[in-house]
């Protein structure tokens, strides 16, 4: 007679097989990078160590610090205000504050550079007032500001949900003990929301590590600069790969810290806040409203205005029928990538949430997610080298040339984005519901269709939309791996802005923003975000 564990092992092996297969797919580019260590170039390393590395590491750390500060202050602060206080326009603002997410970092960067250009309005006004003009390219604050403004929604949306799900009784108890709004924020809500905040922050920081467009526009040298230099200046894919794997190590550390701070905590759904618990004086309410609208006007209004002005100037020169094609390609690639990525994220989550999930399985799922921190171009080159080898081996053109390579790149890069929202829904399913259903004899299929799917729906939808928006903005991997005829809006933006033609790049930028805003609006309509 078979023992239970053995029986379990036997039924488990197909799952492990599939998971192992999946993991290999997810890790292929990383493995390709690691194989770079077999091929060393001590001379180039010596050169980098002598000239660049110290500066680059300190620059990168400084930027991470700036983005941490910026996204925390903006993300947590705004979420707190929107959840805990009533003021005019709160409902609108709580949604509109997500919109900067629709803005690609590189677009905001060139708009800022345009607005603060030496010949731009800001500098002219400054010098007319007798002030010395500012150079936003000096120091870290330019890129840190831009990246904070586009990445804070990661922290905002997760901490908003966390705050809103905190139990009202807890807050009322604290209030009755004489704890004011400030005290509740620091001593009750913030500690409770920490796992969610850390999750949002780690996404923002990994995006920062992988960013190339923004830092290049500001000419701010970071670790990715060294990767590009090794590759483009010294033609050494090996050293580029070695540098990238160091970057990944750093990302793993980031993820590890996030894990540690989360501990074994599970965020189960509790009684939600039905209305903001703190009341403000009439004046303070309007003040808060004004503050938030002002913030939006600065971060979203000015860029939109600038882009529209540029677009109006160049409309006749730039617009043609091909835009419909680019718009469609962007939509199709994003939809397709979102479906595939979320389907796999769901599958991985289902495996991980099993009672008998092995340590190996849990660990491998964690590792499978680090592709997010890979700069797109590094990822793309890893994939290309690999698929080309496969093509040669199997004597086919199947792997490179179609959409396969591109979809693989999106999958590896964005599985982390899809994984989070699905996982948080899985964690919020109360075990007793499942027990109850099982005790009532529900079949596997029925459990999946009638219990799990409805409970997971919000998580699945938000994962779909997040990946959708990320893919629509993605540039380096798309640029390198797209098949013929699949040019996207992001590519058009790059082609024009790389030649310094920012005015003409305004039209594709606005269209891309439109797609993002549509995505967010859809999320709101479907009730994924409140």
């Amino acid at each position: 007679m078979l023992s239970n564990t053995l029986k379990h092992r036997l039924t488990q092996w197909p799952v492990n097989l599939v998971m192992g297969f999946l993991l290999i797919i997810l890790l292929l580019p990383t493995l390709q990078l690691l194989s770079g260590w077999f091929d060393s170039d001590p001379q180039l390393w010596q050169h980098f160590a002598d000239t660049l590395l110290l500066d680059l590491i300190s620059n990168t750390l400084l930027l991470l610090l700036g983005v941490t500060f910026g996204t925390l202050v903006l993300g947590v602060g705004l979420a707190w205000l929107v959840v805990m206080f009533e003021f005019p326009g709160r409902r609108w603002l709580s949604w509109l504050l997500l919109l900067p997410f629709a803005m690609p970092a590189y677009v905001l960067a060139f708009v800022f550079l345009g607005v603060f250009d030496y010949s731009g309005t800001v500098q002219n006004t400054l010098s007319q007032l007798g002030w010395t003009p500012i150079d936003i390219r000096e120091g870290v604050w330019g890129p840190a500001l831009v990246l904070s403004l586009v990445f804070y929604p990661y922290v905002y949306i997760l901490s908003k949900t966390a705050f809103a799900n905190q139990s009202i009784t807890l807050i009322e108890t604290a209030q009755s003990l004489g704890c004011g709004a400030n005290c509740i924020f620091w001593r009750v809500s913030l500690p409770l929301a920490r796992p969610a905040i850390a999750a949002g922050l780690s996404l923002a920081l990994m995006e920062t590590l992988a960013d190339f467009g923004t830092v290049e526009l500001f000419n701010y040298a970071t670790f990715t600069t060294a990767i590009y230099s090794a590759w483009e200046d010294f033609r050494s894919l090996a050293v580029a790969a070695q540098l990238s794997s160091l970057l990944l190590l750093f990302a793993l550390l980031l993820l590890g810290t996030e894990r540690l701070t989360r501990g074994k905590r599970r965020y189960n759904q509790q009684a939600r806040l039905s209305s903001p618990p703190f009341t403000l004086s009439r004046k303070a309410q309007w003040g808060m409203s004004l503050l938030l609208w002002g913030f939006l006007a600065l971060t979203l209004g000015i860029p939109l205005l600038q882009l529209s002005l540029w677009a109006a100037q160049t409309l006749s020169q730039e617009w043609d029928a091909r835009y419909i094609d680019w718009f469609n390609s962007t939509l199709i690639l994003s939809v397709l990538a979102a479906l595939i990525t979320v389907a796999l994220a769901l599958f991985m989550n289902a495996l991980q949430s099993q009672r008998h999930a092995s340590r190996w399985l849990r660990f491998s799922i964690e590792v499978g997610k680090i592709g997010y921190a890979l700069p797109g171009i590094v990822l793309a080159i890893g994939i290309m080298g690999l698929l080309a080898t496969l093509n040669n081996w199997l004597n086919t053109q199947w792997f490179l040339g179609g959409l396969f390579a591109l979809m693989l790149a999106y999958l590896v890069r964005f599985i982390a984005v899809a994984y989070g929202p699905v996982q948080s829904r899985f964690l919020s399913i109360k075990p007793n519901i499942i027990e109850a259903a099982r005790n009532m004899g529900a079949s596997k299929w029925r459990m999946a269709w009638q219990i799990y799917l409805p409970l997971l729906k919000p998580g699945i939808l938000s994962a779909l939309l997040l990946v959708f928006m990320d893919v629509s903005k993605e540039l380096p991997a798309t640029y390198l791996l797209r098949p013929f005829g699949w040019d996207t809006l992001a590519i058009r933006i790059f082609e024009l802005s790389a030649e310094g033609l920012y005015e003409r790049a305004a039209i594709p930028s606005l269209l891309l923003l439109l797609i993002g805003i549509l995505g967010l609006w859809l999320m709101k309509r479907l009730g994924v975000i409140k």
Partner: protein, 361 residues
């Protein structure tokens, strides 16, 4: 007609996507089916690849060359598929694709990358009396693996309000302390700066060039800029007095604001001549349409393409038999550096090493 083609392409793309979404949406074991779906994408878009057209891989951005290619297709009836990307990435891609590459032509925006592609064995030599007649030898690869097609000079630009042309002379002289706090440069990682410094190494040797770059860094008025256009707008805004730019960016700037108080100065006229660089192209070794590919490159070396280079892009024609547009003619004639650009390509790596050592960002 164009709209119909668009509509057809789009419908085909959407049906591909929707078919797949139905598969992955209905599936209960999304992992496996997802992977199968990936497979079918590989196949179906393979069918979509256009096989008859001449395929160009280009690091020249689409807005800069589309007008040329459209004109060629109209004249000859040969269809062209354009695929743009970054220089290094395109070269890697062709290497990866090996014998099955769909690419027939590789087009690059500078000699350094053309030279690198040649050194990687990507090109097949062109036996072309037309090119030999049309394009001067120093703008071509010695083994005829690639040829330059348009020229732009990288030279000094200065404020006509604060600098007299008599104060200017050479690239080297910009290292003089008299320019302290008055110089603006573009970042070191641009390929145009790599080529400029490589040509300096070829003429003056490593040590002297290093001295010069150190001097430049000391004279900088602002952190190096990401674009040539920003260098000019910094000069216009009184942030600095002199900089180094490509002539076609200067042309773009003047087209935008014809009254701008900046002008070009031809560097090193009494010595080596002003540094020039080319955009150019070569035929891919594994191309299955070598004749047509060479035909296009030859076409680009003569009328009407050569005139278009100066009219549409503010560049100089590589073919000396063509006059430049009046706007470019107004910048005056200059003596160009005749150093073979293949040499420049070889020295680029040393140039980067040197700039990074000098701390030029």
């Amino acid at each position: 007609m164009k709209h119909l083609v668009n509509l057809f392409n789009t419908t085909r793309k959407w049906s591909l996507a929707l078919g797949l979404s139905a598969v992955s949406g209905l599936s209960l074991s999304p992992g496996l089916v997802g992977f199968m779906a990936l497979g079918s994408i590989g196949l179906s878009s393979q069918v979509m690849a256009q096989d008859e057209a001449l395929v160009i891989y280009s690091s020249r951005k689409e807005p800069l060359i589309k007008p040329f290619l459209d004109a060629f297709s109209k004249e000859t009836g040969i269809k062209i598929t354009l695929y743009t990307g970054k220089d290094g990435a395109l070269i890697e891609r062709i290497k990866s694709e090996g014998a099955s590459t769909p690419a027939d032509i590789l087009m690059m925006a500078d000699a350094g990358n053309l030279g690198y592609a040649a050194s990687q064995g990507l090109f097949s030599p062109m036996q072309s009396p037309i090119l030999e007649k049309n394009i001067p030898a120093h703008l071509r690869d010695p083994q005829n693996l690639w040829t330059g097609l348009s020229i732009r000079a990288r030279t000094l630009v200065y404020s006509t309000e604060r600098v007299k042309p008599s104060e200017l002379s050479t690239y080297e002289e910009l290292a003089d302390p008299k320019w302290q706090g008055r110089l603006c440069l573009r970042s070191a990682n641009t390929v145009y700066n790599k080529s400029l410094i490589a040509s300096q190494i070829a003429h003056n040797g490593e040590a002297k060039t290093e001295q010069m770059v150190n001097g430049w860094v000391k004279n900088l008025a602002a952190k190096p800029f990401a674009k040539d256009a920003e260098v000019m707008s910094a000069i216009l805004a009184n942030r600095c007095d002199v900089g180094i730019v490509n002539t076609y960016y200067f042309g773009q700037e003047m087209a935008k604001q014809p009254e701008a108080k900046i002008a070009l100065f031809w560097a090193n006229q009494d010595s080596t001549g002003t540094h020039i660089n080319v955009s150019g192209a070569g035929v891919i070794k594994h191309s299955d349409q070598k004749a047509n590919a060479q035909k296009l490159i030859e076409w680009l070396s003569r009328d009407p393409a050569q005139t278009l280079y100066s009219e549409a892009n503010f560049e100089y024609p590589a073919n000396p038999n063509f006059a430049v547009s009046p706007q470019i003619a107004a910048w005056g004639e200059f003596k160009a550096d005749t150093l073979n650009l293949g040499k420049v390509a070889q020295l680029q790596e040393n140039a980067v090493r040197l700039m990074q050592k000098a701390g030029l960002q």
